[in-house]
């Protein structure tokens, strides 16, 4: 609860700062505030306001995922700073991002479905806005429009599902719902609700066949917004989905599992196969994000003690995404041209950035000793322990396919001749984010225990 309040406070500060003509300090202050919040939150020294446990609880799951979201947001804000340098709407953008963070935090710490619903809507609406925020760019408009239409539809389904839960139990309280989910006498409306919520969440995390929006929206949105979508939004949705499943469906029914397996396989395959022939980097990231969704969804198949795996995967995926986006932002500079050719010769013209990108891609591809490898490893370990060996084989086949397109970019950076006259967006923020993310990827890889023992 305190975390949420603090975040909202930071958001409001951003809005007030504009009024008080303190535009310059908005970004530094919000980042510092977020990082402070992060450390305090992680250290568990935040004074807890009691009395609201029926709406917001801060258990370990909430605490660590919130921490992840906070640090992600801080870095995302830092990374977006160059884009807003000359914007009169700086405070609007930053405050929306901070509020989105509050939505994300609500999504993992809710103890009432109302909070969950509002959280996901805050996050989604923030994203609709940001996706369409480049108002003169038709692609941005289109992205915003598509995202909005499909997102609202998904929200409707989600809402229908929540309603069915309510119909079956007469409450929105998580604890009661959990008891209902394990009770034999619960009405079957409950399960319809579960399925509808699942479908809604599958949309939010972009799982096949509800994933179609993702590549288009990723491509059309301004790049720093794409970064948010592929890191914060995806991870938050995933965590929230996980939490929902633990509440609503901890004793997963057989057929439900089967469908989920099909969805997982389809998602991984679709994401990877579609990524193969993409020419635009943002679409590649989008499709690769879809395949990562498939991987993360596997944690849902056996939720016992899978929180750590999800946290690990989410962390490594999001940080790798941050690293990648710091380079993408650096390279593509203007929005209209995000072809992979832009990366040609980066290894020569800017070895550091090329290195960051390489590490990010290798981590996403799951190459040891980087964090991404351990993420996949823990996940595979989990699903094999649960007995889904066939699924594990599909997963590793997907890992192979993924290598193709990740390495396509790597190869472009190191073997192609640089395009002459190409200018980069040479901002120190990108370097900072990239380096921090890279170091984190390596550190997490070297000491996976640091995250694996958290929850």
């Amino acid at each position: 609860m305190t975390t949420l309040i603090a975040i909202i406070g930071i958001g409001i500060f951003c809005l007030l700062a504009e009024i008080m003509n303190l535009k310059k300090i908005i970004i530094p202050v919000s980042i510092v505030a977020l990082l402070t919040l992060f450390s305090v939150n992680l250290a568990g020294e935040l004074p807890e306001i009691t009395g609201y446990e029926s709406m917001i609880i801060s258990d370990k799951f909430a605490k660590y995922f919130s921490s992840l979201f906070i640090v992600l947001t801080a870095l995302l804000i830092l990374m977006s700073a160059p884009s807003y340098k000359n914007s009169s709407k700086l405070s609007d953008f930053i405050s929306i991002k901070v509020f989105m963070l509050s939505g994300a935090v609500a999504m993992v710490s809710f103890s009432n479905m109302a909070m969950f619903f509002l959280g996901i809507e805050v996050l989604s609406i923030g994203l609709y806005i940001l996706a369409g925020s480049d108002r003169l760019n038709i692609k941005s408009n289109e992205a915003g429009m598509k995202y909005f239409l499909m997102g609202s539809f998904a929200s409707g389904i989600l809402l229908f599902g929540i309603t069915m839960l309510y119909g079956a139990t007469g409450t929105f309280d998580v604890g009661t719902l959990y008891e209902a989910s394990i009770s034999a006498s619960t009405e079957f409306w409950f399960y319809i609700g579960v399925i509808l919520i699942t479908i809604g969440m599958l949309f939010k995390v972009a799982a096949t066949p509800m994933h179609f929006w993702a590549p288009d929206v990723y491509e059309g949105s301004p790049t720093q917004v794409t970064a948010i979508m592929s890191t914060l939004a995806k991870v938050a949705a995933m965590a929230s989905f996980f939490k929902l499943i633990t509440i609503l469906n901890s004793t997963m029914e057989h057929r439900y599992t089967e469908v989920m397996i099909v969805v997982v396989i389809a998602t991984m395959l679709f994401g990877n196969i579609m990524a193969l022939r993409q020419k635009k980097i943002k679409r590649v990231i989008a499709y690769s994000g879809i395949s990562h969704t498939g991987f993360m969804l596997m944690t849902l198949l056996n939720i016992n003690a899978a929180e750590n795996n999800l946290l690990f995967y989410a962390t490594s995926y999001a940080i790798a995404g941050l690293a990648a986006f710091s380079v993408i932002l650096f390279v593509i500079k203007n929005e209209d041209n995000d072809q992979i050719e832009n990366f040609n010769g980066l290894g020569k013209s800017n070895p550091l950035m090329a290195f960051i990108m390489t590490i990010a891609l290798l981590s996403m591809a799951g190459i040891p000793i980087l964090a991404g490898f351990f993420a996949k490893f823990f996940l595979l370990n989990q699903i094999i322990t649960s007995g889904f060996i066939g699924l594990a084989i599909v997963a590793i086949i997907n890992s192979m396919i993924a290598v193709f397109y990740y390495f396509k970019i790597v190869v472009a950076m190191y073997t192609k001749e640089p395009t002459y006259g190409k200018e980069f967006a040479n901002h120190s923020e990108y370097y900072i984010v990239g380096i921090v993310a890279t170091v984190l990827l390596v550190l997490i890889g070297l000491f996976p225990d640091a995250i694996m023992n958290l929850i």
Partner: protein, 625 residues
């Protein structure tokens, strides 16, 4: 004694290293001298050993160092000096010294002479290892080592790719035999858990191995011998090996290396004695080789080729003897053959030297007067090889034929015919080379001369040995048989009865017939062999060596090339395509996928709704309550 052995072993190796590394600085003559001295030292050491063993001292085994162990089998660098190996070393190093001496002059014009000597020394070293090794693997080191040297020396003039081809062919055909040898080693090693000759001999009686496996082992060893000693079907490399310098042909491809097969079988005689069926195979192969090679020799025009086929033929006779269990006879013939064949080769080298590299007998003739020493020494050797009394070849060949006669009449017939042919083509060689008028160019004629002393001295010594060498094993009173007796199973000696004299007479008459025909054809009628293009009929078949090379080419080499090409062009591509095909399929799917993702929000929503419907239907509607 140990010092002697060490010196014996390492003198050639030292010679090899010195001439290899410092040969260029030392100059030709010095390196030649060092090379010769190294072998001579070995010869002296051998003499010392020989005298000790001849004096009845015990057989010496000498362990230099451990080599390696394989399972329970320990393999050491150890050497065995018994009657057989010392005898063999004696003529190896002896003839080796002479040929080294000869080469100092013969190779003097070659810029890589120091290298020549280093290779020769290396050869002698490996030959010593082959002969003196006390276990099969040391023998194998020598075996492959001499093959290597043979390769190096055949291809000594490596600018000529034909010579290189010949060298390569020799090495590869030897390797076919070597594989057999290896398998034989495996069988013996596996069943006896040792590779030491003496231990195997001791263990043979203990029933550690089934007779059939023993036969296979013997057969495998024999295949090895076939390769090294140029027996059919692995014979064709030897004539080609004449591409090397003539001293090499004399030393390696006539006197020593090619007899390694005979040495090996003799060394393993205790094994072969237990496998009569393999002995039969050996005898038959030997006989066939003898006659086939002799018949090819009838029509060859290259002086060295004639000698080469004669070598193959003589080796065939030796194998015949081996197959009949007459090891000491085979050894006897090896020794006499070493004398006269080395002499013949060196003589032919002298001729070639005089003619500046001309080897075709059709372009020779009348050299008798210009090169008297060469002529007379070669004549003596020719008489010896033809089996004319009392030269050494008479005694050794006669013993082989006699043994054959007692064992198997058809084999005797074949052997005799081969001998007659030998007499014919050897005298054909002599007549074409030394008699009548010179047929070469004027320029060659102008330069004709007798070879220098360094060349003729070895010739004379060898001719002398060829003449009197038979003395070591005269029928009825054989020093050799007596000397080697401890090594072999006792078997009764043939009595020198009337039958024996009759056989001698028949052999002599046969040889004289062969000589007579040659005399009539080439001296009386002064016939000159026709040019290669005009050859026809049976003559052509013989001239083309029964098309053996062509047959091998068509049935083995070409198919391998074809498979190789096929594999390279199709199989590799196919596997590659199959792998890439998987990637291609995913790529193709990717294209299809891109069509679905067409930017139309309606399509996306359809997919959404269908996914949702499918989920609901599967989980809920059709669920059994």
């Amino acid at each position: 004694m140990n010092t002697t052995i060490l010196l014996l072993l390492f003198a050639p190796l030292a010679g090899f290293l010195i001439t290899l590394f410092f040969g260029k600085k030392l100059g030709k003559t010095v390196s030649g001298a060092i090379g010769t001295a190294a072998v001579a030292i070995s010869f002296l050491c051998t003499l010392s050993l020989f005298s000790q063993i001849n004096a009845g001292e015990t057989i010496a085994t000498f362990k230099l160092a451990d080599w390696f162990s394989i399972g329970n089998i320990k393999i050491n660098f150890s050497f065995l000096f018994d009657q057989l190996s010392v005898l063999w070393l004696l003529f190896v190093t002896g003839i080796g010294s002479l040929i080294h001496l000869y080469s100092i002059s013969y190779m003097h014009e070659d810029e890589n002479m120091h290298k020549f000597f280093s290779y020769l020394n290396l050869f002698v070293f490996f030959m010593i290892a082959l002969v003196a090794g006390s276990n099969l693997l040391i023998m194998f080191i020598g075996w492959e080592g001499v093959g290597l040297c043979s390769y190096l020396l055949i291809g000594f003039w490596y600018k000529n790719q034909d010579y290189n081809d010949a060298a390569k062919k020799a090495f590869i055909m030897n390797r076919i035999g070597d594989l057999g040898f290896l398998i034989g080693i495996f069988i013996l090693g596996f069943h006896f858990q040792t590779l030491e000759f003496l231990e195997i001999k001791a263990l043979l009686g203990k029933d550690l191995i089934t007779p059939s496996l023993l036969s296979i082992a013997a057969l495998c060893l024999f295949i090895g011998a076939c390769g090294k000693s140029a027996q059919l079907p692995l014979a064709t490399w030897l004539p080609d090996a004449m591409a090397g310098p003539t001293p090499v042909s004399a030393l390696i491809h006539a006197a020593t290396m090619v007899t390694a097969g005979i040495f090996m079988i003799t060394r393993m005689n205790f094994l072969f004695d237990l496998t009569p069926e393999i002995q039969n195979v050996i005898a038959i192969v030997g006989a066939i080789t003898a006659i086939v090679a002799a018949s090819i020799g009838l029509v060859q025009n290259d002086i060295k080729k004639v000698l080469a086929y004669s070598t193959v033929s003589q080796l065939g006779l030796m194998f015949l003897a081996l197959g009949l269990g007459a090891y000491e006879v085979a050894v006897f013939h090896v020794i006499t053959h070493a004398f006269f064949k080395a002499c013949l080769f060196l003589g032919s080298g002298s001729v070639i030297h005089a003619l500046h590299g001309e080897q075709d007998m059709r372009n020779m003739g009348g050299l008798r007067k210009v090169m008297p020493i060469t002529f007379w020494t070669m004549m003596i050797s020719t008489l010896a090889i033809s089996g004319i009394f009392p030269f050494s070849g008479f005694w050794s060949k006669d013993e082989i034929l006699m043994t054959a006669f007692h064992a198997n009449i058809p084999l005797w017939v074949i052997g005799s015919i081969a001998s007659i042919m030998t007499a014919f083509y050897m005298f054909r060689l002599m007549y074409l080379t030394f008699f009548n008028d010179f047929r070469g160019t004027e320029e060659q004629k102008h330069h004709l001369h007798e070879s220098p002393a360094l060349i003729t001295i070895p010739l004379v010594i060898l001719a002398a040995l060829a003449a009197i060498g038979g003395a070591i094993s005269l029928p009825g009173n054989s020093w050799l048989n007596h000397y080697l007796a401890p090594l072999f199973k006792k078997h009764e000696a043939h009595h020198l009865d009337g039958q024996a004299y009759m056989l001698m007479a028949i052999a002599t008459v046969g040889a004289l017939v062969g000589i007579g025909i040659a005399y009539a054809k080439y001296l009386k009628k002064k016939e000159i062999p026709v040019a290669d293009s005009e050859v026809q009929g049976l003559h052509k078949v013989l001239s083309d060596k029964y098309y053996l090379d062509e047959i091998y080419m068509a049935t083995i080499v070409k198919p391998i090339y074809m498979i190789s090409n096929f594999a390279k062009k199709y199989v590799e591509k196919f596997i590659s395509k199959a792998v890439i095909g998987l990637g291609g399929a995913t790529y193709a799917l990717s294209i299809k996928g891109k069509k679905i993702q067409n930017g139309n929000i309606g399509v996306y929503l359809f997919a959404f709704i269908f996914g949702m419907v499918g989920f609901l239907v599967y989980v809920f509607v059709i669920r059994v309550k």
